[in-house]
Symmetry: C2
Subunit: 351 residues, 2 copies
């Protein structure tokens, strides 16, 4: 039997609405599922220590590195880079750069985390721009979607790179062989949509990397689970993800209200409770929490700012799984196979 790999994850203990409690309690939940993980915990030791004391198993596997600096949700990315060098977020990403950790997880300011990660970790050979990818629940099973907001403007080349990264993301995170890839568009016909989408379709078809390209997909195809990987620009992707989340929440709340609305409905809800609970669990956003910054030299996972310990544990699980499965090696390999080297990176093949 192979010896379990040792995985060290750096945690920004101070990011997010419920930090540091959600972070520490989340890490405690995570080691119950994934025993080979150790933690470097960055943040205010005075706040972290009392919570960590209540988690003896986690304490054994953790080192706390004290810092009082915190990047707030209002900080502009440029300020965060300049003034946040000793922040819990920056130090966590720095640990990845220095090889002390294989990945970092933060619930903090997304723009700041992306800016810091880009500067500290740089993009992988062949990758022009990093993208944010996450898991989305569908009727069939889970799919992945990217970009979710890192890149407002994208050309065909960017979308092609997202397709390659999305392929590696789906294979490593979801365990899907030869994932099907769709370009998000406003019609399934080739002529529809914008130039970037049409260019990307040609590039994917003509590439040597052998992606399993389905073609164009529309907004309703996301929830139908028509493809394993949905590729789009950061503007549309962010809107699509948040629209889906908002719609799901509205319907769930309306359902809850309806089942509290009359005595008959309450009785019905009592009988149907196990079935309804399973349904709510299936779409529980905490169980899909954890968006990866794809395309960087290191694993950085962004957890939702408002999540709790269960959600944060899931984000740690995403980072650990992607580390174990070496997602970045997969991306580098595919980019090399694609013969695709961006102009400014002609020697960027890792040699």
């Amino acid at each position: 039997m192979a010896k379990a790999q040792n995985i060290t994850i750096a945690l920004d203990a101070m990011g997010g609405d419920n930090a540091p409690e959600s972070v520490i309690k989340g890490a405690e939940l995570a080691i119950a599922k994934c025993s080979e993980v150790n933690f470097l915990i960055y943040g205010d030791e005075n706040k972290i220590a009392p919570i960590l004391d209540s988690c003896p198993k986690l304490k054994q596997k953790s080192e706390v590195i004290h810092t009082e600096d915190v990047i707030s949700d209002d900080d502009k990315p440029s300020n965060a880079i300049r003034q946040g060098r000793k922040s819990s977020m920056s130090l966590a990403v720095k640990a990845v750069r220095n090889g002390k950790a294989i990945g970092a997880v933060s619930s903090g300011n997304t723009g700041a985390l992306m800016a810091i990660s880009k500067i500290m970790l740089r993009t992988l050979p062949g990758i022009d721009r990093p993208a944010i990818g996450t898991v989305v629940p569908t009727k069939r099973s889970d799919s992945v979607m990217l970009d979710l907001g890192a890149n407002v403007y994208c050309d065909g080349n960017n979308l092609f790179e997202f397709a390659v990264m999305g392929d590696a993301f789906a294979r490593t995170l979801l365990g899907v062989n030869n994932p099907s890839i769709g370009l998000l568009n406003i019609g399934s016909e080739e002529m529809k949509g914008n130039e970037a989408v049409r260019d990307a379709a040609s590039m994917i078809r003509e590439s040597d990397v052998g992606l399993n390209f389905y073609g164009h997909v529309e907004g309703d195809d996301i929830a139908r689970g028509v493809v394993d990987v949905i590729v789009t620009d950061g503007f549309s992707g962010n809107i699509a993800l948040k629209t889906a989340e908002g719609t799901a929440k509205m319907i769930a709340n309306s359902l809850k209200d309806a089942l509290r609305g009359s005595i008959l409905a309450r009785i019905g809800a009592l009988f149907a409770k196990p079935a309804l609970k399973a349904l709510f669990n299936k779409f529980d956003p905490r169980l899909h929490n954890g968006a990866m910054f794809l395309g960087l030299n290191g694993i950085v996972v962004k957890s939702h700012g408002g999540t709790d310990a269960l959600g944060f544990a899931n984000a740690i699980g995403v980072a650990a799984k992607l580390a174990k499965k070496n997602i970045n090696e997969e991306i580098i390999k595919e980019m090399q196979e694609s013969g695709h080297i961006p102009p400014e990176d002609e020697n960027g093949d890792g040699k």
Copy 2:
């Protein structure tokens, strides 16, 4: 008491998956709600007559104009314009141009309907490009959203015009006074998003028309009902609407499956049936069917291609309501107040 206004609506009887039955039966349903409507029905008389014979009330209020030409869903818009001059769709829109009808309703090919409508009806004074707008259900009540796919690329000027048209659309269709307007974006901060969205925000703020501008909204704000009018480009708007529809459908289907999954759940569903039925009705897409092509000299409403009689009746209701409330006069008035005349239309103020 004022005499009821007489409203004539032209129907494309041959467009959509369930035509002509959904169209004729839909018109029959519509007159039950709106007795002042008359119809010009364009299509194959041999197929229409037997259905119309079963709707005596409708027959009294209808004139059938026979044509065998039909524009199919596969027809390219350019072909539809050139070769579809005698199609049921073209003739219905032509009736609006010639003043025989105040509005046209079709479940046919969206791209063809838009192309034909643009050529036949031309844009309103001051409006550069028409947009597709529709009603979306929210947690609070209904909102409207535009554009939904007519314009893939939009600049700030286009979005400004959509805001004006959306304002008139919400006032006339939803009956909201001084509707709040939001620009769909990927963050609520001013600096977020693309250039078009930022330009539009400035133009709306600086305009004399006095729009009730809320600011930027995100995808999850749509279902939350944060604003009455959601303004966006046709690429993001189409994706957002279809993503919301797809998510709602997935959850509804999952709920139905869950409530059939065990004996206990079935018993629960029986008790909760009235509450659940009310919930499904609230989000029934047929009751939100009917998207208006805003910004043209005439009312054209696109019904969903797959809808049934109930859905088509709703689309007719949208056209009738917008006609009664003179939506286009409202748009012209607001555009004049805004002092906004596009460069190529300096004399386009209707004088």
